[in-house]
Amino acid sequence: MRVWALVSLTVLACISTPRAFGPLTLEDAAEQSTDGKRRTSVLLVRDAEQARSRGDLRTSRALITRALRIDGQNPYAFVQLGRLALEESDPRLALVNFEQGQLLFKTIEPTNTRWAARVLRLRAEAHLRLGEHDRAETLKNEAEGIAPSGLSAGR
């Protein structure tokens, strides 16, 4: 009886806890893509992120431009553009890009909750930079509801 109760509780816990779906990294996102155009475009975004991480924003921007020339509906590219804008202290431009990315994720990769949550957190960060704390908090909570921060970490 106790075993059954334990199993039931575990199953219940698994069902009720939000789980993150979707690629953990850009590399994974590229690998999971069946479309060559999207795959190449995401790999360029991966390179752009690497360039951004080492502070080479110019190369990063050039790589995103290449990515979008190949696939103008690549949500990862817009997220990356938003990150660049945040890095360059332009939270408003960042927000437009994050929203664009979010819109594309919702429609093109609706099951990708991991990235949907990430974009929400990035949007929250942009709002924080604009001093809009309440909006930022709402977005963070929304992100937690979709995929808890521990599960959506990574780039």
Binding site: K37, L44, R61, I70, V96
Partner: protein
């Protein structure tokens, strides 16, 4: 006697001293003159303008992407697998081997390399490998040089460094121009004596005595006049140059200065530019035959031009090769091989600058940033957004479309002020201008109708009215949906300058029509009524948010496009719809790099959110309907498939014909009309739409991308006659609404029932 001698000697000495002093001053002056130019920037270097590089990646459809055409435009030639050189390719059924050229991108120099594209049976790139078999994610085909900004001298020059010049080219140049270059000090007296004797024997000038240094001085500092003073200055300046500078410095300057021929009105100077112009190669990639030809051409660049006189050029080349062979620089085998080499000259492109109007537009942007002088002299590299392949298709689509119109409607054919057209192709997601056609023939008219001309937009403006109407409003009297019923009945609007009486294109009235039908069929009267109901001020505000900058007056006739705007404004406004409500920063260039490889400027992809995505999606849906059922269905009739939206436009008296179409990735806007505003007699669907269709066909627009439907929208079955929800006995058709704006009332007279909701859900599923 002494006194007498003193009387002669003293003045002579004084005169000699004066002459010596004058000579010193004069030589000093020459030295200053020589150094003033030689120390600074030696040459004015035009700024080069490049197209967008073409991306090769797995999944690319090589036929649809017109890879072969793109390679031809870049002057790639068929080669051999075993000896593939940069600028060559081998095209096989399942594989394409490419010898990519070296290129200096703003992100760094790439070397020339061998890549292999494996193709799958569908003709798509399956994988990309380098020469060593390593897998590559993607590679860029170098951009095409589409033009340059020159100063008034109109010289094309590519500066090369002496370290990068092949040793054999230097040897060949010295062998034919100045054998004792490393032995003399600027003047070669043995050579002068030899030339004097040879000319004396021949009775005419058959040999020159000038050293390479003298040639440089003459070309660089002096004129070609044949006077003693000029010759004296040349000799002195040559000695000074040799005294001040090393042999390699002088040789480098010479190799960059030497005149190498003519490309229409532009002079080709220097070996770097000659290598690019004649062979589309970097100087380091030249073959032995090409080296021989370039060295031989110095004597008479036009006389021995491989483009103008190929036979003569081969004879001259082989003479130089034999010289190299005789002096032991080239083996028997190499001589035989190079002497039989084809000239390998870059094919004549009928129009080296496919985008003259774009070029003018770009110049405007760049001059504002850098100034005319810097553009013409500092050797900048401008990386534009232009897709050279798209540009050629756009240019031809406009030319062919206008010619076809003239053939179909002979009254449109005029000798003076002929029928004109303009086209803009945009990538709405990045704001990049991919192609721009400002008129039919740049040679006949440089007026850029895509940018400089303002004309009435007519019905092409109706989506602005629709967006103003469909956007959420706090005013309950100004809430419209695509199912809102409008009255298509006679309308008279009194105004200060007279009554305004709009009519439909067919002079018919249809009674009650849905907003969707009014736009899809481009009905003027119901849209005029809608404009009045929405309010002209709101329409002006909406137009401004969409990026219209031309003067707009809040008059009732505004809804029918009664003011004047530019094609570029129209394209940008439609890009707002294509991107789901963001105004893109429209750009003609991406990066500017100086001649040392430093990036001076990089434009970023930037947007401004102007409208909620769901509000804009209603307009996208509307414009998809225009193409599927309405005035733009000619696009479907011409075989254009996939998700596409568009709108026709025709102004009063058929003075202007417009058509704008967009997919999620690409936007094409076309105008057709006369400069003097004469009547076309045909609407936009006849004059402008076929041009867009032609472009879309030939450019092989990607039809896999879909318009992204945002959240906050719902599809509901609507009764077409009443605009009410479908119900029992009046099922209707699906319509899209902003959440919360769906009609509550059902056409069956009863409120919405669960069964109706189930019906909506089922219809959506289809």
């Amino acid at each position: 006697m002494r006194v007498k001698a003193a009387k002669i000697i003293v003045p002579a000495v004084v005169i000699a001293l004066i002459l010596a002093a004058w000579a010193i001053v004069w030589v000093r002056a020459q030295d200053t003159f020589v150094e003033a130019r030689f120390q600074g920037r030696l040459f004015s270097i035009p700024s080069a303008v490049y197209s967008v590089p073409f991306e090769l990646y797995p999944g690319l459809d090589v036929a649809a992407a017109a890879l072969q055409t793109r390679l031809s435009r870049l002057n790639y030639h068929p080669g051999e697998v075993e000896s593939l050189s940069p600028g060559e390719y081998v095209w096989q059924e399942q594989e394409i081997q490419l010898g990519l050229r070296a290129f200096r991108y703003p992100q760094g120099q790439t070397g020339s390399r061998h890549v292999v594209l494996s193709l799958n049976p569908a003709g798509r790139v399956a994988s990309i490998r380098d020469g060593e078999g390593r897998s590559l994610d993607s590679v860029m085909l170098e951009p095409e040089r589409v033009g340059a900004f020159h100063d008034q001298d109109r010289q094309d020059r590519r500066i090369i460094s002496i370290e990068n010049v092949p040793e054999l080219l230097i040897t060949a140049v010295l062998a034919v121009e100045d054998r004792r270059f490393y032995d003399h000090s600027g003047i070669d007296f043995r050579r002068i004596a030899g030339a004097f004797l040879a000319n004396l024997r021949a009775g005419r000038v058959v040999q020159g005595g000038s050293t390479l240094t003298q040639q440089l001085v003459k070309n660089f500092y002096l004129t070609s006049e044949r006077t003693f003073v000029r010759k004296l200055r040349e000799a002195v300046m040559s000695l000074l140059l040799e005294w001040r500078h090393s042999k390699p410095e002088i040789l480098e300057a010479y190799l960059n200065e030497v005149y190498m021929g003519q490309r229409t009105a532009v002079a080709i100077h220097g070996m770097g530019e000659a290598a690019r112009y004649y062979f589309a190669k970097e100087i380091s990639d030249l073959s032995l035959g090409e080296i021989g030809l370039l060295a031989g051409m110095i004597k008479g660049p036009n006389l021995y031009s491989p483009k103008l006189h190929p036979e003569r050029a081969i004879t001259r080349r082989n003479l130089v090769l034999k010289l190299l062979h005789d002096e032991g620089w080239v083996s028997d085998e190499l001589l035989a091989e190079a002497s039989n080499e084809k000239l390998g000259v870059r094919a004549f492109l009928p129009d080296d600058n496919p985008a003259p109007y774009f070029f003018d537009f770009l110049r405007g942007d760049l001059v504002a940033e850098y100034g005319e002088e810097i553009l013409a002299s500092e050797g900048l590299s401008v990386f534009t957004t232009l897709d050279a392949h798209a540009q050629v298709i756009a240019r031809d689509a406009v030319r062919n479309g206008l010619a076809r119109l003239e053939a179909d409607f002979p009254k449109l054919k005029r000798e003076s002020s002929p029928l004109q057209g303009a086209m803009i192709v945009l990538a709405p997601r990045t704001g990049e201008i991919l192609a721009m056609v400002g008129g039919r023939r740049y040679g006949q008219s440089q007026f850029n109708r895509a940018v400089q001309m303002r004309r009435q937009p007519g019905s092409i403006f109706k989506p602005v009215v629709a967006l103003a109407a469909l956007a959420r409003s706090d005013d309950p009297n100004r809430r419209f949906t695509l199912a809102t019923i409008l009255q298509d009945e006679p309308l008279l609007v009194p105004g200060p300058t007279g009554d305004w009486v709009p009519t439909n294109y067919d002079d018919e009235f249809r009674g009650s029509v849905r907003l969707r039908d009014a736009i899809e069929l481009s009905l003027n009267v119901p849209v005029a009524r809608l404009g009045i109901a929405v309010g002209p001020e709101k329409i002006v505000a909406t137009a401004r948010r969409m990026g219209f900058v031309s003067p707009l007056r809040p008059l009732p006739s505004l809804a029918l496009g009664s003011f004047e705007v530019a094609l570029l404004e129209v394209a940008r406004a439609y890009a707002v719809i294509a991107t789901g409500g963001t105004v893109p920063l429209v750009r003609s260039y991406q990066e500017v790099m100086d001649d040392a490889g430093n990036v001076l400027e990089q434009k970023q992809i930037a947007f401004k959110r102007a409208f909620a995505p769901e509000e804009v999606f209603l307009v996208t849906s509307l414009l998809q309907g225009v193409v599927d059922r309405g005035t733009g269905r000619g696009l479907r009739d011409r075989g254009v498939t996939g998700p596409i939206a568009g709108k026709t436009g025709t102004t009063n008296g058929f003075r202007d014909a417009w058509f704008v179409a967009f997919t999620p990735q690409l936007l094409v806007a076309v105008w057709v009309g006369f400069d003097d505003e004469g009547s076309l007699g045909v609407p936009g669907s006849v004059a402008a739409l076929p041009i867009v269709a032609d472009f879309l066909h030939k450019y092989h627009v990607d039809t896999s991308a879909v318009f992204v439907q945002p959240s906050g929208l719902e599809w509901v079955a609507i009764d077409a006659a009443t605009g009410l929800r479908g119900g029992a006995g009046c099922r209707g058709e699906l319509e899209i609404f902003l959440e919360g704006t769906v009609p509550v009332e059902s056409c069956s007279g009863s409120p919405t029932r669960p069964l109706d909701r189930l019906f909506d859900w089922l219809m959506r599923g289809t």
